[in-house]
């Protein structure tokens, strides 16, 4: 495994999610939006899953939390602290040991005061104390508890969402695009709380489209392409294109404004017309006939990659 000195908090193997959708009229089709996805989060780690918006990476978060839409099929093995999870167990852990920090304030109930929401309507002394401690910790004034969500600024709202998540002393935070449209500096600041949380021996899975942010805050980056993670690499490997493994990751690296801003032809394939074998095949300069076969994940220099040509 990629991080041998760590104990895993979360480990996902061969996760697949497919959608049932109407195509035209009464015909239904199955769209496999996530296929054979692997990712893991170790103790003290912040792992970023980076992919284009609308590529289905949010479904990863929803699958881990068991909150997929009804017209979905999902399968795959999820281990949480070495325990293989069943759907029922996922439901028990959700909101307790595993929590979701969503994108925006719209996830707060606009009609309820913030304090009560954070306490989940409980008023016992112990719960109240915990909420007050957390407010202190995240530098929220105590009177924030009496505000309604619309009275919060963007930054405060983010911290409120965070305290809500922390009330149950979780081990794993799944953050789905927690900093949409934020300036890099502001986003980094917002992410510092996640960093602190991870540094205490917990795990954070950050799902984002913002690779610049991921490069700044994450320990490892999993690159999401066409429904799967093509490469999982320590963040240090992103310093140079030579230490990266997958041709897509390399193309991604070259497309960064600071690395030349090089465009790359082609587009991500649809779930509907996915090529055989490697999803990157049609765009790949190294394409060979073997690429259309089954691509196994390989372990190379502490990173995992799904490419038969990777060195």
């Amino acid at each position: 495994m990629s991080c041998m000195n760590h104990k895993h908090i979360l480990q996902i193997k061969n996760l697949s999610v497919s959608f049932t959708q109407y195509e035209k009229g009464l015909r239904k089709i199955d769209l496999k939006v996530i296929r054979n996805l692997n990712v893991s989060v170790g103790e003290g780690e912040l792992v970023a899953v980076v992919g284009a918006s609308g590529s289905g990476k949010s479904l990863l978060a929803h699958a881990i939390l068991g909150i997929l839409p009804r017209n979905c099929d999902a399968e795959g093995n999820i281990w949480f602290e070495d325990e293989l999870l069943s759907p029922k167990r996922i439901e028990e852990l959700r909101g307790g040991k595993i929590v979701l920090v969503p994108q925006s304030v719209t996830y707060l109930d606009p009609l309820e005061k913030v304090g009560r929401q954070v306490r989940k309507e409980q008023d016992e002394e112990s719960v109240r104390t915990k909420q007050e401690e957390l407010f202190d910790f995240y530098k929220l004034p105590q009177n924030t508890a009496d505000l309604y969500p619309f009275e919060l600024s963007g930054g405060m709202a983010r911290r409120v969402l965070l305290t809500t998540a922390m009330m149950e002393s979780p081990r794993l935070i799944i953050a789905d695009e927690p900093t949409p449209g934020l300036h890099l500096e502001a986003a980094k600041k917002a992410m510092s709380h996640f960093r602190e949380f991870a540094d205490k021996g917990n795990g954070v899975l950050l799902i984002t489209h913002d690779i610049e942010l991921a490069l700044e805050v994450a320990d490892r980056i999993a690159v999401f392409y066409a429904g799967t993670t093509v490469e999982e690499a320590p963040v240090a490997d992103f310093q140079s294109v030579d230490t990266l493994r997958h041709p897509y990751t390399k193309a991604l690296w070259r497309a960064l404004p600071q690395n030349g801003f090089h465009p790359f032809p082609g587009k991500q394939p649809y779930a509907k017309d996915m090529p055989n074998g490697c999803p990157f095949g049609p765009r790949c300069p190294q394409l060979t006939p073997e690429c259309e076969g089954n691509i196994q994940e390989q372990l190379i220099r502490f990173g995992r990659v799904r490419c038969i040509h990777a060195k």
Partner: protein
Amino acid sequence: MRLEAKGISFGYKKGVKILDQFQITIENHERVGIVAPSGFGKTTLCQILSGYIKPASGQVLLDGKDIYKIQGYCPVQMIWQHPEKAVNPRLRMKDIIAEGDGIDERIMDGLGIERDWLNRFPGELSGGEVQRFCIARALGKRTKFLIADEISTMLDLITQSQVWNFLLTEVAERKIGLIVVTHSNLLMERIATRQVVLSSEPAKSLLFH
């Protein structure tokens, strides 16, 4: 051509101005980046500059003509941040692009629009693909200024560089003025020839030349 904003003030709430006496002049050979923290009315400013919103005071002039009063095709076109809201979900992509002002095949090729997308509905394409159409649609023959409001936040990096590389050559060739809003400093440095900073308190604008 020249786009001039004179003494623009605007606020959504009474007494709270998000823009106060904002001034800017842009020539059609320039690429201007607008920098400001989130929540400082960058999108509002874009809408004012492209004539969607009438400012509370002040004027936006395109070669001396008030932009808000221009009838018909507006030479200042804005590209919005959220492509899925900028297209009618009930129309096919070919009908959406047809609303533009004679969009060349060349533009569609440059933005990597594939021909079989034209018969699809927006819901059948990804956000990045729809955004390419929105960009193409704004590049009509009569477009003189292009206002890009965080147009690549929804795109993956490779698409982002594809789109921007094309846009930069296109605006240079056709002498279209470009106004860019992005939260990415690196992207801004890459694109803009000059940056304008909307400073915070008290919502006032500074000008850097």
